[in-house]
Symmetry: C2
Subunit: 549 residues, 2 copies
């Protein structure tokens, strides 16, 4: 089992140093501390374990260090920044492991860009040595890239010529779309094993500057200060310690404070229940800060994040996630009110951004998501996003016989209209009602109102509203049927249906780039016994089927 | 060898009827006339042969029938419109064949949408029976879909539940992006073997209307007339007969009038040379009409189209296409002038749109494209698009020793600034200089000027400008090296680097959807011995690996 929880004192591969407004995150991978046996993490190459620590560091920098305005990513090893994902590890990994690893890596890098753009915690990259493949891809996520000018250090994406795979964790997309490198230059660069350095690297916009060793440290410090000066993060605020989650794991599931996961292995599904706050959420800013990790929206984000990562990584056979909620709509609504009232506060901003990222993680999860809305549920505001995320939702029309709970309702809040956009830049409602502003407006007109099944159906918010006679069979059959379909076909279908509308850098990375990468990760030319990934390092050249597909 | 040339009198699967402004294209697939042995094309299911005829018909309708303003696609079989791509054919096809077949199908459907949007020849679809899978996907390319209301006929995308593959020729994308069907409804629809008919199909916007048998014919006629009335196509113009190309094929290549293809099997490359007009192109509209298929721009589009389709389908091992040109820049420029002067004419509009589609076909071809620019070449205007298409271009700086030809030049014309957009909606120059209007403007300032290597390089139009000393080695090594890389990695890399900037319905279909489809076409759950494609029709259920990737 892979556990995503860690803490700086347990880091094996990174060193985090804070110096006032500037943090430095030094990569110093312990060769012998790979997550699995069978490979050595030479030259700051990485595996999922290295990435889990990086993700943890980025989260702590946001929440525990409000004073940090600029983060410098660099290496603590001489002459090498990072050699990218470890090739032997990739060669030993199953297809699913490779794909899942890359998805998580992508999410962390997108999170780094989100910190820069929205948390005003700007990441810059100090390449003190060679940055190859995934190493350069990590740099591409930074706002500014400085390369040491030492006559040998270069940036490179050698995946195509060396390994017959793609620079598939954002590299190809960020080169042409983010850094706007001309596509013919990008083509040349991506076929060049040794990479590019010096003046040409700057001219082609592969990096922002190259600086001799003698001036490297000072230049980085000056650049970091420059970015730090542009930030609005407070210098006198107290951070929120991300203490370990209260989490009880058993074979059948996980219980956190607000999120529970029950596993049905026969049905190949996980039931995820999310509870609304059990008491009135604090509304004053100082009380929110005092509550910290126990403030319900932050606790929710952390628990959901951990549950999603756990299920994605450790439970690949659970193909369907059935999402339910419980609790009081007024209390859930009050939590949204607290968030919305203090958007200018750094912590409330962080919590909102974290919720946004967690829902995005749900959107790109290769699992069928079915939301079930029954009496006693609480799909209010932020929690209503589960309904909008879902591939399909079922809402009971009316009540169950012999059950005195009132009818289930949905209640929109302002949280559904902006703060939680999808990767495509639209809200889930805008994506749902693509180009139909009236339909979005009609839902907006219902902010604060409890919508019963008929009303929710009329507004287009739920898929089906069976009554109590049909309910059990209809929901059961939908869930059972889902489990009978090909997992691959479902993954492809969901990845295409969930993201109507515009594409962005992020959706391009998760769709165009990742889909091609997944294809190549399945092709004999890469992963076959005679393929490049298997033969790398053996001295024997790969044997390609030369037919173009 | 697959030949893409055909003519209505040779059609086996379609009947084309012209009735004034309205054409009817009736699908009536000959079960026993599949392109390959081993399968029967039951229920109007199709293979590449059926699609080749459809493509031919769409081209003839544009050029030979200026009077046709609306095209009705329907079936000549009772109770069935089209059952989609033939499953047994897919089961017997290699991975490359499946992928190539789907790409061509997509291009034809995009062409149908292009005819509707830009040629004012609107396609509508009269579903007189069941439209399943690719059958419904064909309908989705039409502007208006009418389904017969006979109690049994439905539209469906049963690929996921029945075959464990995707509705991958546009279906998933067009449902949510073009017809803006809500994603949860789309999810339900795409898992429903029997499909949806009647009121629900209209409500969900899967079709535009459903009409009882008694009123079907009249309704279609009325709808067709309504669309025809909105067209600006002339009713008194004479069409241009698309007579067979003058084409000489040998083992080493193909010679057309203006395009020659030489094949180097050892080097695994095709050299494509395009010749500029050999005499001054006619400029008057009546002369252009009189010239017809021998008007150079139209001849060029037809020859290139055929060459690309031939190489893609029949020469999969030729992984690199080296493109050169020859001829006189003034004559090539004059051809552009003639096109640009008469854009309001239906024929000139068609020729321009055809050129646009051919260059788009080049963009989505899974071959490395290298443009070589030497003395004697003619990369002017339309022909300069080859430089902008290319993954990489080499331009000789200066002349060769002992060669009295003047230096090679590029000459931009207005054709490079609008009439030939890529699938992403931008011109190739806008994509090349993404968000850099100044760089595009600088090239625009050079319209009509001959740019030597230094100037072209300064403007960012070419990748490298070696002098005569380095030329031979540099170009040779680039081409040889290309042939040594994994064909799959190159395909994935090129598909990601060529399309910076916005995504559109078309790029979504070619990238997101096709990439996922290719992945699934490679997965054991679909194509393995126990997979759904192989077991379809045997009565034995597929045996899935249930792990989600």
């Amino acid at each position: 089992m892979i556990d995503f929880a860690t803490t700086p004192s347990d880091y094996k591969h990174w060193k985090l140093e804070i110096n006032g407004p500037i943090a430095t995150l030094k990569m110093d991978v312990d060769e012998d501390a790979g997550l699995n046996p069978g490979y050595t993490l030479k030259l700051n190459s990485y595996d999922l374990g290295v990435d889990i620590e990086l993700y943890d560091a980025t989260q702590r920098l946001r929440f525990e260090h409000p004073e940090v305005r600029c983060v410098v990513i660099t290496s603590d090893k001489d002459k090498v920044f990072c050699a990218g994902a470890n090739i032997s590890m990739l060669g030993l990994s199953s297809h699913a492991e490779k794909v899942n690893f890359c998805k998580f890596t992508n999410e962390t890098r997108n999170g780094i860009e989100d910190a820069t753009a929205n948390s005003k915690q700007t990441y810059i990259c100090a390449l003190n040595g060679v940055a190859a493949g995934g190493g350069y891809e990590l740099a591409l996520a930074a706002e500014h890239i400085t390369l040491i000018d030492d006559g040998s250090s270069a940036v490179s994406l050698p995946e195509v010529p060396l390994l017959a795979v793609l620079p598939g964790t954002g590299g190809l997309t960020r080169v042409v779309d983010k850094r706007q490198v001309r596509h013919d230059r990008a083509d040349f660069f991506c076929t060049l094993t040794e990479g590019i350095k010096g003046k040409r690297a700057v001219e082609w916009n592969l990096i922002d500057e190259t600086v001799p060793r003698s001036k490297f440290k000072d230049t980085i410090a000056a650049t970091a200060t420059e970015f730090a000066d542009q930030s609005d993060r407070p210098d006198d605020a107290k951070g929120i310690a991300l203490i370990p989650l209260n989490k009880v794991t058993s074979g059948d599931g996980i219980a956190y404070d607000h999120v529970t996961v029950s596993i049905d292995r026969t049905g190949r599904l996980a039931r995820i229940n999310v509870a609304a706050p059990s008491e009135a959420p604090v509304q004053e800013l100082e009380d929110i800060h005092a509550a910290g990790v126990s403030f319900w929206p932050l606790a929710l984000a952390r628990e959901l994040d951990d549950a999603i990562l756990h299920l994605r990584t450790n439970e690949p056979e659970l193909g369907t996630w059935v999402i339910t909620t419980t609790g009081d709509a007024d209390l859930a609504s009050a939590a949204d009110t607290a968030l919305l009232a203090h958007q200018e506060d750094w912590l409330v901003r962080e919590i909102t951004l974290y919720l946004k990222r967690v829902f995005k993680r749900l959107d790109v999860s290769s699992r069928s998501i079915i939301t079930v809305i029954e009496p006693g549920s609480c799909f209010t505001g932020t929690l209503m996003e589960f309904v909008l995320c879902a591939d399909r939702s079922y809402m009971l029309d009316g009540t169950f016989e012999g059950d005195n709970q009132p009818e289930a309702t949905l209640r929109p809040t302002e949280m559904n209209f902006g703060p939680l956009p999808m990767c495509n830049g639209l809200t889930r409602l805008e994506t749902r009602f693509l180009n139909d502003k009236d339909a979005v407006g009609a839902v907006r007109g219902e902010i604060g109102n409890d919508l019963d099944a008929q009303a929710a159906d009329g507004l287009g918010l739920v898929t089906f509203i069976p009554d109590d006679i049909d309910w059990e069979d209809e929901v059961r059959i939908a869930i059972e049927e889902r489990a009978s379909f090909s997992p691959d076909a479902l993954t492809g279908m969901e990845a295409n249906l969930r993201f109507a509308g515009p594409e962005t850098l992020e959706t391009k990375i998760f769709a165009r780039l990742s889909a091609w990468q997944n294809w190549i990760f399945q092709r004999p030319n890469a992963v076959g016994d005679d393929g490049a990934l298997k033969r790398f390092g053996t001295g024997v050249k790969p044997d390609f089927d030369n037919k173009r597909v």
